[in-house]
Every structure is written in C-alpha cells, then in structure tokens.
Symmetry: none
Subunit: 278 residues, 2 copies
DNA sequence: TTGAAAACGGAAGAAACGTTCCATTCCGTC
DNA sequence: GACGGAATGGAACGTTTCTTCCGTTTTCAA
C-alpha cells in the first residue's frame, strides 16, 4: 500500500537526496535547492514569500521544488529544516512518549529507564546551555570565600549534603545549613561578608531556603545561586547565578545535572585554591 | 522618534528582562512566561494555539504576555526564540573542541563535561547490566515493609537522604539513619523483622554502615543492599542486592546511576502499594 | 461586604500564509 | 523557422494563524 517512495525526514538524508537529484532539476529549482542547502536556517523559520525573495525565485518555485523531490508541499519540506535545529536539542518529551508507548502499565524497569533518560537529557541540556563565563565567575567567587555556607532543602538537600562531602575532601571549609534542631537561622547568621552562601533551590522554591538566603544577603554575604529560571527569587539576591533545568519523569525531577555541576564546582574550587597557594 | 523602550532581541536578554518583570506580571502571564523559558524550543516551533495548550493558557494570554513586556505581538516575541536556535548550536564535537581549546590545564567547563560523561556512562551501564528480576524482587521486598530504614553514609548519604524525601512523597514510611548525635545504633535498633533495611554502600565500604547493617541483620530484619560488587560485605547480609557500578572522574565517583535506581525504586514501591490497597 | 479595576476566557474578525491555477516564456526538436 | 512540451512568473483562492474585542470572573481596596 506504500504507493509513494519515502523521502528523507532528516537533514542529512535530504542533503544526500538532493545531491543525487540535483542534476536532473530545472534551473530555478536547482537555484532554490542550492539556496536551501546554503541557508538552512533561513528556510527553517522563514515564510515562503521571504525565502523566495532571498533565493531570488518565486514562491511557487519553492512549492514546486518540494513536490519535485517527493514532499507533499513546502511546509512538509520545511519540517526537515526545523528538525535539524531541534536535533541538537535532546527532545526529552519525545523520548518519554516513546517510553510510554512500549507498554501501558508501569513497571520498575520502565521507571529506571525513564529516570535514566531524564538524567541524560538534563546533563546534555546543561552542557549546551550553561555559560562558561558564569561558571568561571562562580568558581572565582567560591574560591575567594573563607567559609562556604551550603543552603538547600527538601528535594535538593542531597545536593548540598554532597557538596559538604566534596568540599571537605578538597580541603575547603564549609558549613552545611541543615536546619537540624530548627537552628537554620542561627546557622546562617554565622555567615559574614568574607564568606559565600551557595544556595540551591528549584521551583516550587522552598520557603525556608529563600528566607535564609535573604537573611544572608541582607547581612552582606555574597551569594552563588543554583536555580532553574530567571524567575527564581534567589536570582535577585545572588552575585552570580547558574541555571540548571532538570527534566521530569513522572512526579519526580532528575538531580543528575545538579550533581554534575556541583561536582565540577567543588573540583574547580579546590584546584584554584591549590594554585593560588602554590 | 524612539517613542518605545527597546526590548531584548536575544534570548539571554529576554531571560534577564523577564526575570526583572516577572513579579509585576499577573498569574496567567507569569505561567505563560514560565513555560516559555522552560520550553523555548516549543515556543520557537509551535503556533500560538499549540503553545497555549501546552502551557495551559489561552492563545490570547500569549499575545497579552508579549505585549505586556513590550513586544508588538506574539509573533514578534517568537522571533527571539527562533533567533536563539538560528544562532546555531555548535554540535557536540565543536563544543568539546572549544572546551579543550581553552588550555591544557583543567578548568571548570572541562570538569563539568567530565562529570557529565561519567554520569551518562554510569546510567548506560546500569541499564545494560541490572537484572530486571532482581529489581522486581527489590520492589516486592520494599513494598511489603512496614517501615523502611535507610542506611548510607559519607559519599552515598545524599542517596538515602533523597530516598527519605521520595518515599515520603509516595506515602511510604521511612526512617533515615543519619547518625545525628551519634545515635545511629539506637536508630537502627528500632528496626524490627516486619521492616526492611535499605543499605547503600560502595567501596571503600564505610565502617559504620556495615556495622549498622550487621546489627539489623542479626535482629532478623530483611535487607535490600545497593552496592558495587559481589564481594561487598553487605551482600551476605542482604536478602536482595542490586549492583551499581558508578564511573569515576578524577577523585570523584558519579552518583547518577544510584539516583536513577532509587528514584525508580521509590516510584515502583509507591505504585505497588497503591495497587495492593486498591 | 461592596464596588471598581484588573485579568481572564472565548469567540469573532483581520491578516498572512501556502497552495493552486493559468497565461507566458523558454528550450530542444522536427 | 515553427512546433510542442516543459518551465516559469504572477495572481487568486482557500485555509490557517494571529490578533482584537467583549462579556464574565477574579482580585484588591475601601
């Protein structure tokens, strides 16, 4: 029943396909195809009229090109150019849908796979979006601190707890504000301007973390915030902030990117101090 | 003639702009803005109607948002999201080369990449090696427990700390043996045969974890062990054990696979109890 | 509790878009 | 040099999309 030869749906395949068909194409269609491969970004987001002007052809030529090489229409062809831009971006939701499609009822292996995918997506995204200069600035800030006060509650408490371990291993003095005995306020009150507060919080931002961070900020203690959006209440208090967007699976959010980030921070700060004291 | 305050035309500027303005925005507009920053690729590619559905708002809300923050309309705002993708994601290898190009000596970006790779390797290995039947057995054991006692120290303390959070969210009763006040022995002494001990330990096996696990085992409390080899001292005490081999980067070992595993355990146990109680 | 202003949802309207169609031009062939 | 088919330019069509408008709900202050 497949009466139609399938056409490539990815950009690489399209390039190969066009390479073969190129010589058999009429002049204008060749011109349009040439432009498309040369300016894929313009094709991805432009309208037919806009692209036609840039390519020096008529709008109808673009539609003809798409149909000549087997697509239903220009919009159909354009999807390939858009997919190319998406490709660099791990499309996590697509993966998740694929997971769900395997079987209706959930089971442990499926969940494990799901959480793994969420973790990998988070890590890839972190690598793609984090600004290296901000990361350097964060390391500089932490390296100059006398004591680093670690602030993070509930879901992200494991992150700060790990930081306490990792910094200690690197010879960096920390205070984990764990709020044991409801002494969080007293713990953070020990922070002085020569110190640094490292606060971690993701939406919905835990009240106590935000409050304690505000207390420290009011006391003039510089802050590094690790949070998930520019809307975070921590952003306005922080001297430096790093954005980490973790992927969800079900009701739970990955912590993989957060851990990779703080591990890198801990090692970098340790190295910088080592170098400074060398 | 510039009667209008200029609005950011690049994504970074937009983030900053929204971060400042977000407090003044009404609820729905905030919701839409949040979605936009969280799913920028959806905004870049989608139509107003599609995006509105995903964001859980009306199409008109998206237009209002764009106008509220100074753009002429939604299409105008959308250009910013498209420009972000046009700017071009340097592909994976380019990024890696750029990282290495900074210099031969280690730096934060390189460490971040290293920890990410270690995490991904750990996750992939976990998925490939873990026996699904053992995983099912682990879930069965935990689902039958009255109280789950969580045992894990030093490097893996974050894992058990997270489990305490995750299990609580799933309505499962736990006791985190955190050894606060050196009361670890008393904490684990509360475990009874109807309970289960979930012990996590990797080489070099922390002494106190092994000792506390042994105490519980001697008292006839069944144990699920998460550890890194068949030679682990926990294996002989455990009724069920799961092997997790984390990859190293430098002096630090990833925790990504451990977290993915325990998240899957928590969700599966919660679901199994839900099903059992109908 | 009441009233006014802001925000919201939904549908109608306006604009833009992709596609199709037809007349004209170009090119190879007889 | 004339013919026929393919290719092209340009306009019109129908659909989709964005925007605007208005009645209702919500929110905040008096």
């Amino acid at each position: 029943m497949s009466d139609e030869p399938t056409v490539p749906r990815d950009f690489e395949g399209l390039k190969a396909h066009l390479g073969v068909a190129h010589n058999a194409l009429p002049k204008r269609l060749k011109q349009a195809a040439d432009f498309a491969l040369r300016h894929p970004d313009d094709v991805a987001f432009g309208t037919v009229a806009e692209i036609a002007v840039k390519a020096g052809v008529q709008p109808s030529t673009l539609v003809r090109l798409a149909q000549a090489i087997g697509y239903g229409g220009f919009s159909d062809l354009q999807q390939v150019f858009r997919a190319r831009l998406k490709a660099g971006w791990p499309d996590y939701h697509t993966r998740l849908e694929a997971l769900k499609a395997v079987g209706p009822e959930p089971h442990p292996g499926l969940h494990l796979h799901g959480f793994s995918q969420a973790a990998i997506a988070s890590l890839e995204r972190l690598g793609a979006t984090l600004d290296p200069h901000r990361l350097d600035a964060a390391v500089d800030l932490l390296a100059g601190a006398d004591t680093i006060h670690l602030l993070g509650a509930r879901r992200v408490f494991p992150v700060t707890a790990y930081l306490a371990y990792a910094f200690a291993k690197m010879g960096v003095r920390t205070q984990l504000v764990d709020n044991v005995g409801s002494l969080g306020g007293e713990q953070i009150a020990a922070a002085r301007p020569g110190d640094v507060v490292l606060a971690v919080s993701y939406a919905p931002y835990t009240r106590s973390t935000v409050d304690l961070a505000a207390t420290a900020a009011a006391a003039g203690v510089p802050m590094l915030a690790i949070t998930d959006s520019a809307f975070s209440p921590l952003v306005s208090m922080a001297r430096v902030w790093l954005e980490v967007a973790e992927a969800d699976y079900g009701a739970f959010r990955s912590l993989a990117a957060s851990f990779a980030l703080v591990m890198a921070l801990a090692v970098s700060v340790g190295e910088k101090r080592e170098a400074g004291q060398g």
